[in-house]
Amino acid sequence: MITGQLLVQGLILGLLMGGLYALIALSLALVFGVLRVLNFAHGDLLMLAMYGVLVLHEAVGLHPYWSPLVLFPVMLGVGLLVFTLLIRPVQGAGVLVHAQLTLGLSFVIQSLALMVFGADLMTVRTGLGDMRLAVGGVVAGVPLLVAFGASLLVSGLLSWTLTRTRVGQRVRATAQDPLMAGLCGIDVPRVQKYVFAVSVALLAVAAACLLTFFHVTPTVGLQFSVLSLLIVVLGGLGDLRGAFFGGLLIGVAEVMTGVVFNSAAGPAAIYVVFAAVLLFRPRGLFGGGVEA
């Protein structure tokens, strides 16, 4: 029943899906690396951006792929607001307080979305969703390929910024030792503020890619929060390369368990794998993360 071709198909789909997960998780990892804050509302902010894509499409007919032009600055503003009002006051209060506070934020965003948009599944019909590319019997949807491409592009850009530019230098210095960075004349609070805002803004790109083939509901956020938390921890907290490969791994694990088990119990495998990896490699896949 499970043919080799099916497995290859699953592997490819998993990698493509994983690429998108990696994009979402990357910004979470960046925030943790620089601020030591783990944001449990990450997926809910993504959900917010997805509704943004939806509204822009319904109201002014903007194609999802153009929506980041509008949504990136909007989400940047949301990020600045969240950081200033919520994150800044509890910085240094310990990871559990951050977790609890952002869980509260998650509840707020989720219920506001429920009030405004209702609980129905919504998506954007672009015609893209039905387009497929077939190579040697392996089929992949165009939106997923676009998403994968966007993920590679953004990851590459992020990596280039961090390693090749002066801004990136400051960000990395802050991530390594905020006190030292401050002593070297880096405006640490400012770096942290903008890193948080940019990481939220990057979700606009992920949302645009997602909504062409996926749906949005108010509860979809939690799903993505948990998924990206798993990826970030799997990759090693604060380790961007780990987060990228963690994303691919989770994507493949998710699709493959669906292919192999073909039952509602399938997704359980992800969590079992996650718990196992975490217990035996508490510093992540490459051992490059910090012990939270």
Binding site: L96, A99, L101, L103, V233, P267, I270, L279, A292
Partner: protein, 610 residues
Amino acid sequence: MTSRIGPAAAAVAGVCLAAIVVPAVGGAYWTNVLILTLLWVYLCTAWNIVGGFAGQMSFGNAAFFGIGAYTSTYLAAQTGLSPWLGMGLGGVLAAGAALMVGYIPFRWGVSHLVFALVTLAFDFAFLYVVSGVGALGGVNGLFVTDQTPPLWLGRLEGRIGHLVLLAALTSALLLLVGWLHDSRLGFFWRAGRENEQAAAAAGINVLRVKQSAFALSAGATALAGSFYAQYVGFIDPESVFGIDLAIQMVLFTVVGGTGTVVGPVLGPALLVPLGEVLRAYLAGRFAAGAHHLVYGLALIAILLLLPEGLAGLADRLRRRRRAAEPAAALQPSGGPHAAGKAPRETAGGPFLVVEAVSKRFGGLEALRGVSLSVAAGEIFGVIGPNGAGKTTLFAILSGFLRPTDGRVSLEGRRIDGQPPHEVCKLGVARTFQITQTFPRFSVAETVLTAALARHPEPAARRLAERVLDRVGLRARGEARAASLTLAEQRRLEIAKALATEPRVLLLDEVMAGLTPVEMDDAIRLIGGLRDEGMTVIVIEHVIRAVMRLCDRVLVLDAGEVVGLGSPAEVARDPRVIEAYLGAPPGEPHRSAAVAVGEGTDSAAARRRGR
């Protein structure tokens, strides 16, 4: 340590009063709301055992709730087992599951965040596995076959019967928690939460303490799961394993005040009825979201404005009132020098023996073939420049690190590789270079924690008082550890170690940063302990103290022993001088003792300035 039976009793009185008044006045709707509220009070109280007292944020309690619900429901349907027995069995299963889930994280001392995520994954795994198992109804769930078996308080009519049962369960749990909070176990829970290392050094088996909290919390939560199934009559994976359940347990408790007895009562008592009222009075889609909105906003507001929760507010008011009253007179008790045991005869033979101990951290060799032997009743000094391996040696002697090679024995009994609390029980106690306190404990409570590791409460209290007298901290007993001066903190470190009734005391730089007068006091204290029969090993940078105190001194440099002998001999040893100062060519050596003294005093001064 204030008594919490008071708050627990007050909470129970509140629960009982509500259970009587609400059905009489409010009718079916409000009775339902009350049952829901009490269910959350119960769940939060259970969660608070692990999440509050033991300080481990568990998302796994939703899984335990589901285990309870499914165990009783499934067994009743398949085998006709009474839900009462199913309830008990569910509790046992959940406690067992908690022991398994907690073992590796607690054993390895992983961070709180990793524990939280592992339990979250555990929860999700259950959600999906149960959804996929046809025998358990899959995603369609299970109906409860017989909702009113005779033992299930069948004689009381439906809703009221359930209310009475739930009120009884909640009251019992509250009383249990109130009692445990002040028991030895409760004390260990909180000590482990406040500072794991210090708790282990005080002789507490941190793994077992955390496991007990997690298992108890899990078992109690599972009972509520069985109750919920009986009350609602239908369960499905989403309603009993749902992640929202786990999040709300955290949320309500944090709003009420984690780690307090009344917090988990106040949080749900305020938020659940509020959410229900909103849900009932708002129409349409607003109704669906409103209660979560309120919960989320309440959590954010509490964390930003009142991090200790609603219970913290009450506490703060009470403390303000108490501060206004004059301090109660301290009662003198015990002799001034009654600490410890009767002086032991100093046999002079080897007491603590270290043989060829090495420790590698990856490529770094922190200790290389270190051997030494300390006689009973000796004050043995360990000196050496920064990074010489002194603290690593202490960590090995006290069980915090396992040596890569070699062995350590106390009176011929091997102690290396044993966990810290075992080593502590065998009679080796240590202090930490950086004072390790339990931030929210008073000085007296901190010392009591260490004393409780060996003695039941009354004896432990007496011991703690004697030790406080001995180190001269009696008058500061009510102060919070964080408010002490540096010299007082060092005394507290010593008191903590003494309260475990050690035979060997390991002191890690207790002089650093002290003023000359404070240092003289410390030297007198340590000398006095030796006179009472204690064997003392000190790591010290302050050479003046080493010279005055120590019978023999061991010099470490880069993980190796470079000198051993009386303080005077060591101070003259050229290898030692080289280790400290390097050997500049052409510059004649000054008087060795002066050179060593100056070098290390300035090191201490640098540290002080930092």
